[in-house]
Amino acid sequence: MRDFMRKHQLMLHVTLMILALLVLFPIFWVFISSLKSQSDFLSGYFWPQKTWHIENYWKAFAGEEGIIRYYLNSICFTVISVGIGLFIATLAGYALTRMGFKYGPVIFMMFLVVLMLPPQISLVPLFRIFQSLDLLYTPFSLLLPYIFAAVPLSLFLTYGYFRALPKELDEAAIMDGANHWQIYRLIILPISKPVLATAVIISATGVWNEYLLASIFMRGSTFETLPVAVVRITQNRLIPNYPLDFATSILAFMPLIILFIFMQRFFIKGISGGAIKG
């Protein structure tokens, strides 16, 4: 199969290019449409007529129904919860794999089960818990679940990676008088960059894009997150303006694409080292 393909590089490129076009074209259409006026868009021309309405982006970002505030909300939620979540997960991952801890696999399995729970079943209980703690509609009602959401996934990725690192690393450090905290912070974390980058991308994507909890715990509040705000704004416009909807959508997913392009070098290494070989 691969053999056959190696002999037919040209055919391979043509096929992959067609598929790439299929993947990119909807995004390209959204982008071109975001630069039209509403009447251009409805008249069915592919390219914008007369002018390119770049100001749509400014309107979508900072205009009357601009998303600038939700941007800041989402950035705060993502940075805080991914940061804390990753710290908690790697600390646990270290203890489970490198301290000769006999309950390691059991606790690891326990966290894996969490990945299977549909978020809907904890919705009402969480709502009630936050209600009784008076945390509803405050940032904490989202931060706590988001921090935790990053934990099982990052644990899943780092567990295999940490376990595969040679034991001699720790032994040498212990000889030199290092304690576990120092080994974790100065040895294990620095050499785990690829898998940490993978964990950052996957958990940041998850938090940035989370919709269900945010739509219930934050809808219409000051701390509403980006996806909820985008869906609410675009579905509730009094006068439809589809190009503006497109500009809003593009602004909403752009930061993740930039993050990914910066970290993609580590990313592929991370999935092969962490989840696959582990």
Binding site: M1, Q9, F111, L115, I121, L126, Y211, L212, S272
Partner: protein, 283 residues
């Protein structure tokens, strides 16, 4: 150095969150699932297992389960197979610069929120100004027609996730022992045989890493359908999760029972799959 409490201290934060956000809500939810509660009144009516019995006779739920089953079969199995072919194609490209180009391009859709993907695709499928009808020169209501709406949703999911899964396969293919593959090729392994008897068995663990999460997420599918159907899925497009969500406003006990039944079912299926796999049992 020997301190038997130290590991517990390192794990404590993770366990604290686990208790607060998993154990307690799950227990609380279990008790909710044994009650009738409209969510507004102070009074909850204990109904025992009645909610679970109702699962068996609720025909709307059965439709939702059938739709979700179709979605899962298509996204966890068909889509994973497509992703494997895509990955083999990408990894056969000789130029390493083009390989990374393809990897980046195909992964992009996976970074977009499912809610926003739903929004974008509802415009692409729009019968009046949608991209798809423009290209095909047709006038089909891709989401309005009950016979094709689910397939339109599945296609949008293919668009979003095939590349992501292909990327994980790429990582798996890169870690294959090249000597073994070389030896097999020397012995004349080719085409389908090479694929079926060499690639598939060697990628067993990677296949699990791709199929199990797709399987779990498939059963949980929510935003994509909910937003694409403009917050009002029909009998033929409801998933179990969107149906559960609708039930919350009517009877929280019943909605929670649906969630529990779903979780237990998915858990058993995944355990079966993992137990039937020799490598995973070992490690």
């Amino acid at each position: 150095m020997k301190n038997k409490y130290l590991p517990w201290i390192f794990i404590a934060p993770a366990l604290a969150f686990f208790g607060m956000l998993v154990v307690y809500p799950t227990g609380y939810g279990l008790s909710l699932s044994l009650h009738y509660w409209d969510g507004l009144s102070d009074y909850m009516d204990f109904v025992g297992l009645e909610n679970y019995a109702r699962l068996l006779s609720d025909s709307d739920l059965h439709w939702a389960a059938l739709n979700t089953l179709i979605f899962v079969v298509m996204t966890a199995f068909v889509q994973s197979l497509l992703a494997l072919f895509l990955a083999l194609a990408i990894e056969s490209v000789r130029s390493s610069r083009m390989r990374s180009f393809y990897r980046v391009v195909f992964i992009l859709p996976a970074l977009i929120s499912a809610a926003i993907t739903g929004l974008i695709w509802s415009y692409i499928y729009n019968p009046n100004f949608g991209l798809l009808n423009d290209i095909l020169g047709t006038n089909i209501s891709w989401l309005g027609n009950d016979n094709i709406a689910l397939w339109s949703i599945i296609f949008a999911n293919f668009w979003q996730w095939t590349g992501w899964n292909a990327m994980i396969f790429c990582a798996g293919i890169q870690s294959l022992p090249s000597e073994t593959l070389e030896a097999a090729r020397m012995d004349g392994a080719k085409g389908f045989n090479y694929f079926y008897h060499m690639i598939i068995p060697l990628l067993r663990y990677t296949i699990i890493v791709v199929v199990v999460p797709s399987f779990i997420n498939g059963w949980k599918v929510f935003e994509l359908i909910y937003v694409m159907m403009n917050n009002a899925p029909t009998e033929r497009t409801h998933s179990i999760a969107t149906y559960l969500y609708e039930q919350i406003t009517m009877d929280i006990g019943y909605a929670t029972a649906i969630g529990y039944a779903l979780t237990v079912f998915v858990f058993i299926m995944v355990m079966f799959y993992i137990a039937s796999n020799k490598d995973l049992r070992k490690g």
